[in-house]
Point group: C2
Chain length 197, copies 2
Amino acid sequence: MARYGKEHKQATRRRIIEMAGSRLKRDGIDGSGVATLMADAGLTNGAFYAHFDSKEDLVASTVADQLREQRERYSGQSLEEIVRGYLSIQHRDDTEGGCPSAALLDEIARSSDSVKRAYTDGQVAIIDDAAARLAPDDPQSARAQTIGVFALMVGTLQVSRALADRRLADDVLEQGIQNALALLGAEQRVSPSSCLK
Amino acid sequence: MARYGKEHKQATRRRIIEMAGSRLKRDGIDGSGVATLMADAGLTNGAFYAHFDSKEDLVASTVADQLREQRERYSGQSLEEIVRGYLSIQHRDDTEGGCPSAALLDEIARSSDSVKRAYTDGQVAIIDDAAARLAPDDPQSARAQTIGVFALMVGTLQVSRALADRRLADDVLEQGIQNALALLGAEQRVSPSSCLK
DNA sequence: CCTGTAATATTACGACCATCAGCCAATTAG
DNA sequence: CTAATTGGCTGATGGTCGTAATATTACAGG
């Protein structure tokens, strides 16, 4: 048995998922058809259902893969490097190569539970990694803080991408960096910002 | 002439746009068909093109209308009220009645220039309103600060909506409130006046 | 030369955006 | 008091594209 090397189908599946990552982030979930996704991988639509149960199945797998890749990329970077890279002009102008959350988050929110579950698991892993580096002694608090900063970055990137005014869009990124670093720095100090309750 | 009063067509157009606001936020732009949007307004698909040049035209008009409505709603609220309302569980669980940015931002980013322009204009108006209340003496700095906090809120709401874990999603909202108020408070501290409000 | 796998090609069927001929009620003209 | 006109709408229709399923072909290795 195993006329084709056992890794052949696996490799094809991986290729589909990786290509789908770029395509989905570029054109959106509803904006990407199965035939196009398969063509990106050099295949035709008919082969799709030998690899995935449904489009939704592919989306969930792709979201998981994208977050896994993002997690690996961040593992070698400091938090400040992550922030500055994330809120860079290059990242804003590279939707298809960038953060899956920024590209797909409100479509994921509208998706089925399986997609949301894949998103949740992948995102929590990223957050936990970052939180461990921020404050290894207080993981609970660091986790909340980290996810808050991450949400800030996602929203900032999305706003910057949606604005038609380039100058304003750049300013938004800059402000986002300031805010993210301020929140990370504030966490390391013990003093709460006294002004409001 | 005019079997209908002069304001009849205008009223129909408004009804379409208002209904489209809910539908687009609920199902997304790509997820909402023209026939469905018209049915929501009690009409059939054929009448659509007497009111709009294209679906894109409706989307741009709807985005503008949604932001106008949001701006009016915020005009009677303090910044802290806005933050707490925006990042409330009720708002998270009411996508179709809530913030258009949180529901549609990454689809808007993929949309045509006319849609992005409508978004930019409407959003800037909201930001300028809020900035004027935050620091009337330094509008330039307040504007940057306000848009930064707004982006934080949008990202936080989206993340909370996309998470499959309810408890975690609630924590994200709470953390978002803390962060938003901290950023507003930090800005406020520059001026000797009192805390938020 | 078989056997089973992976892919292609084709098909079904519905939804999509957009167009257009025609209906219907009310106003206006003759 | 008809008859023509008009505005807003319905209903049907293209033509394309969507997901999913199926029949068929190419091919690898014992």
